[in-house]
Symmetry: C2
């Protein structure tokens, strides 16, 4: 099997930074999973004693508490601060940015529209910084709540597609006299998507390596499926089925922004053997 | 000949307001043509002694000076103020708005992008309010001067098409982290355009009445030509040629935002006679 890696794939700046912070800190807890990849979280726990804590009740305030890459809600952060915890912030700066925009714009009287999934931890964090009720949407239809005459500020979940963001921006601009548009989409996600799109056009089969609950990994899968029907999302090499590769020549490989290089290497090695 | 007027046509709010101001004032001068329609300017001169002055040298500072609907440049306004002239502002409030936005945004450090024709008096006026050099464009290609990292504020000439404005907004949003979009397109223009578009689809011939140097009248002509090849722009009933109507049944009529009702009435009367 001829295997080709996408021109850009895997870890983004924010994830590399968070892992580096966790490794340097050691013997600590992360509040919620540090990144969206269980294998890497297991490695940090095993090799650096960095464990994941899901609720306040289980926190050990004698150990440093690392804030995950996707950020947490403002009230949770304030609770941690009230406990005098040793807080180490590994929130990706590209996530801190929409949080700050949301806070600032709502203070200035703008109604904040967040393009994103309201169940995603990143979006929950961003929402929590608004001083008025933010509107979180995935489609134009959900914008009916907005009242004419409002000043609108628009931000995006970092992992969304720019085309969809522009559709929403255009709709708002055509209806409202002032729309302050903050393009908070992360370039890394976009570059991985572009590269996966290109590669999937010339591949017989595409393997996307990443966490199954990772928004950007699922989006890579969707993009690849448009060009290559035989596209699969796997968390590691153990999920690979040899039958997928029957009669195929060219296998493309991409990986989500939270997927460590060591897992991708194992996947490539296994596929190359077919 | 069956004649149908567009659902919306002719004078907009700003033009009605400016004419009413000029009529009430009387015995005055306008600095530049009050509106883009010579016939109406002639009527104001004849019936209300409101003359048009094109340069400072010809101003009579003993008479009130009316600022035209399209606005003037900030330096010209300051010159008039320095002369202690009795200034009566008939600038359309929808034009004052982008002027104020341009001033405010450039003060706050935004680079102002104006979607419009840099030779149009309205745009020249808006440009003059910027504290830094504004970028005036009609197409995305002209945006190459912008530097990454700049905060961008986007406004539009009031008579532009929303579709083109949205294209430029989308381009800027995809390239810059913050774009403050002010939709300064006037609804009146848009409603006249929509109505002309609808009417031109069911007409054998379209007559657009308006000033030949009026941007919004020329745009009406372009829109109608897309649906009805036999579309003509005339300034008054004297330009009508009977040969245009040979073999035609349904004539649609629309008029630019600066076209007075009394001219349109004469046009409709003449066509109805065929």
């Amino acid at each position: 099997m001829q295997v080709e890696l996408a021109r850009k794939y895997g870890f983004c700046f924010g994830v590399k930074r968070a892992i580096s912070i966790a490794e340097k800190c050691g013997d600590a807890q992360t509040f919620g999973p540090l990144i969206h990849n269980q294998k890497e979280i297991d490695r940090l726990s095993r090799d650096f004693s960095v464990s994941t804590v899901e609720s306040f009740d289980h926190l050990d305030t004698n150990k440093p508490i690392i804030i995950r890459t996707h950020g947490i809600q403002k009230s949770d952060l304030q609770n941690l601060q009230n406990k005098d915890a040793n807080i180490i912030d590994a929130t990706c700066p590209f996530v801190t940015k929409p949080q700050m925009i949301c806070e600032e714009m709502s203070k200035e009287g703008y109604r904040v529209v967040i393009f994103g999934d309201k169940e995603h931890p990143e979006v929950k964090g961003v929402m929590s910084y608004s001083h008025n009720k933010p509107i979180v949407i995935l489609s134009i239809e959900e914008l009916s709540e907005l009242k004419l005459g409002q000043k609108i500020a628009l931000v995006s979940q970092t992992t969304r597609k720019i085309e969809n963001f522009l559709e929403i921006a255009s709709y708002l601009i055509s209806k409202f006299s002032e729309v302050r548009v903050f393009n908070t989409i992360c370039n890394a996600t976009f570059e991985n998507q572009e590269a996966a799109h290109e590669l999937s056009k010339k591949s017989d089969i595409m393997i996307i390596v990443g966490g199954k609950n990772s928004s950007n990994t699922k989006q890579l899968l969707r993009i690849c499926k448009n060009n290559c029907a035989q596209s699969y999302l796997i968390e590691d090499e153990n999920e690979i089925e040899s039958s997928w590769f029957e009669g195929k020549k060219r296998c493309g490989v991409s990986a989500g922004a939270s997927t460590p290089k060591w897992i991708i290497d194992k996947v490539v090695a296994k596929i190359s053997d077919y």
